[in-house]
Amino acid sequence: MHHEQPIEEAPRPLNPDELLARCMGNIEFAERVLTKFQQCFGEDLAQLEQELFSENVEEIARVAHRLKGASANAAAPALREQAADIEDLARARKITEIPPHLEQLQGAWSQFVEEAASIEWLEGADS
């Protein structure tokens, strides 16, 4: 019999349950977090593009690291994964390999925004 490797699921754009747990079950607060996250992430993404244009690898790594941490705490695993890849490349000074990953990050960001707009919180959570 041919045993196939289990296919790893692609990380989700957003895990609302995880975010709500990190926000101590407070839906109103979780929604404020999402709003702020989208604002900050948008600004950082623009800065990342600028730093890539300037070929400033240290700044690329720093911004990518911040995006990685923020995405992790905002329960956005797909964004976290893409940001982590960019950070690793920047620290390895492989700047020419970054642009396709930036495109993937931008794609993941679009999916996140879409997901965040249609989120349904768990019933029974604090509001």
């Binding site: 995880e18 747990a21 990190r22 926000c23 101590m24 407070n26 607060f29 404020r32 977090v33 702020k36 996250f37 900050c40 720093r62 690291h65 911040r66 990685k68 941490g69 923020a70 992790a72 705490n73 905002a74 329960a75 982590a84």
Partner: protein
């Protein structure tokens, strides 16, 4: 309790603040390491939760700067970061962080790690309280200067030396050494129950006064006994009790209050006995000048096997250079610090050797009749102890 959150990412900072508020903490946020240092200077924060990667001053550098400061109290630092791996953990802890949490953080994990930090901080309060109580007990006697500090160091040296001795290896470990350092200042806490007329008498005590003075061991021991009964799991209380009870026992069984003999005396009592004697000999008291180290050493050697445990004397000899260093280091703090003058002994050497050496402010009497009546269970013995029987000391 106030927590300082140091995080340049606003989203993470908000999430941390919300979780900490839910846990009952008061939270202040700092956007970077520089703001954090300014906040820490206020002295308000004992708990810090910090990101690692931040502009200008990283979380690692913040840890280093916190540890370099002479703060009024310990500051417990938890780093929250998406850096992972053993190397990063080692780097963080080496820089002075106390704990390390990976992003994304789990609120419950943060809560329990903060609780661990609060337990650490509460120990500092315990240590300060113990020393303050000991200092209070000594405060009526102006003669003692930095006696408590020296005692702590002498006891630590002796215990540390004995920890390598085959006979004590099972009893004395690193924790034991630390506990003895902590509790040795409480040896004379029973003096609070001794009237001024006896405690502060400059001259020789008569028999009745000496009997009163000897009771400080019973007063201190019984007080700490009560504390042990209330908190039987507290090892530091057990040791403090044993020290208070037995620091005037003599190895040959002729000490007080219980007339314990040889290894019936808990080793902490045997250690404090020598440390206390050495300090009494090498510092000026109202009844005597300070003796030199060499003279004090000679007197202690003469008490080997009678007053002092030979193993403890041996430990003293092996660390005597450190004893001299400690004595000199604290000499400036001592109000009566003088150059040692062996020629002006206020009392006969015979009195020092025969009688209990370490009772401050007392010119010794030759009577060392055991005092105690109550049975006492000491931490290094499993059966209740009673006053010395007629059986000679082995």
């Amino acid at each position: 309790m106030h927590v300082l959150v140091v995080e340049d990412d606003e989203v993470t900072a908000d999430i941390l603040e919300n979780a900490l508020h839910e846990f009952g903490y008061d939270v202040t946020k700092a956007n970077d390491g520089r703001e954090a240092i300014e906040a820490i200077r206020t002295g308000k924060y004992r708990l810090v939760v910090s990101d690692w990667e931040m502009p200008e001053i990283s979380g690692i550098e913040l840890c280093r700067q916190i540890r370099q400061r002479c703060s009024s109290g310990y500051i417990y630092v938890i780093l929250v970061t998406s850096y992972s791996g053993t190397q990063n953990v080692v780097e963080a802890l080496s820089a002075g962080a106390d704990d390390f949490i990976a992003k994304p953080f789990h609120p419950e994990e943060l809560r329990v790690r903060l609780r661990a930090g609060e337990r650490i901080l509460s120990l500092e309060s315990r240590d300060l309280m113990i020393f303050s109580l000991a200092r209070l007990a000594e405060s009526r006697d102006p003669d003692t200067g930095a006696h408590l500090e020296r005692m702590q160091e002498y006891c630590r040296l002796l215990a540390d030396q004995l920890s390598g001795h085959e006979r004590f290896r099972d009893t004395i470990d690193g924790e034991y050494v630390q506990l003895l350092h902590l509790t040795s200042p409480l040896h004379d806490i029973g003096k609070v129950g001794i009237p001024d007329s006896v405690l502060l008498k400059p001259g020789r005590l008569n028999q009745e006064e000496f009997e009163i003075m000897k009771r400080h061991t019973v007063i201190g021991g019984e007080t700490l006994d009560a504390a042990v009964r209330a908190h039987p799991e507290a090892r530091f209380l057990q040791m403090a009790r044993d020290v208070a009870w037995t620091h005037h026992e003599r190895f040959d069984g002729s000490g007080y209050p219980l007339g314990l003999c040889g290894r019936e005396i808990p080793v902490c009592g045997r250690i404090v006995a020598l440390a206390d004697a050495y300090d009494a000999l090498t510092t000026q008291r109202v009844y005597k000048p300070a003796f030199s180290h060499e003279k004090a050493k000679k007197i202690i050697l003469e008490g080997t096997g009678t007053q002092f445990d030979p193993d403890v004397v041996e430990a003293f000899l092996q660390r005597e250079h450190d004893f001299v260093t400690v004595s000199r280091r604290f000499a400036e703090q001592d109000a009566y610090a003088l150059e040692p003058d062996d020629s002006k002994a206020g009392i006969r050497e015979r009195d020092l050797v025969q009688g209990p050496l370490a009772t401050a402010g007392v010119t010794l009497c030759e009577n060392t009749t055991p005092l105690a009546t109550a049975a006492v269970t000491l931490c290094e013995n499993t059966t209740p102890l009673t006053p010395a029987s007629s059986t000679p000391c082995p």
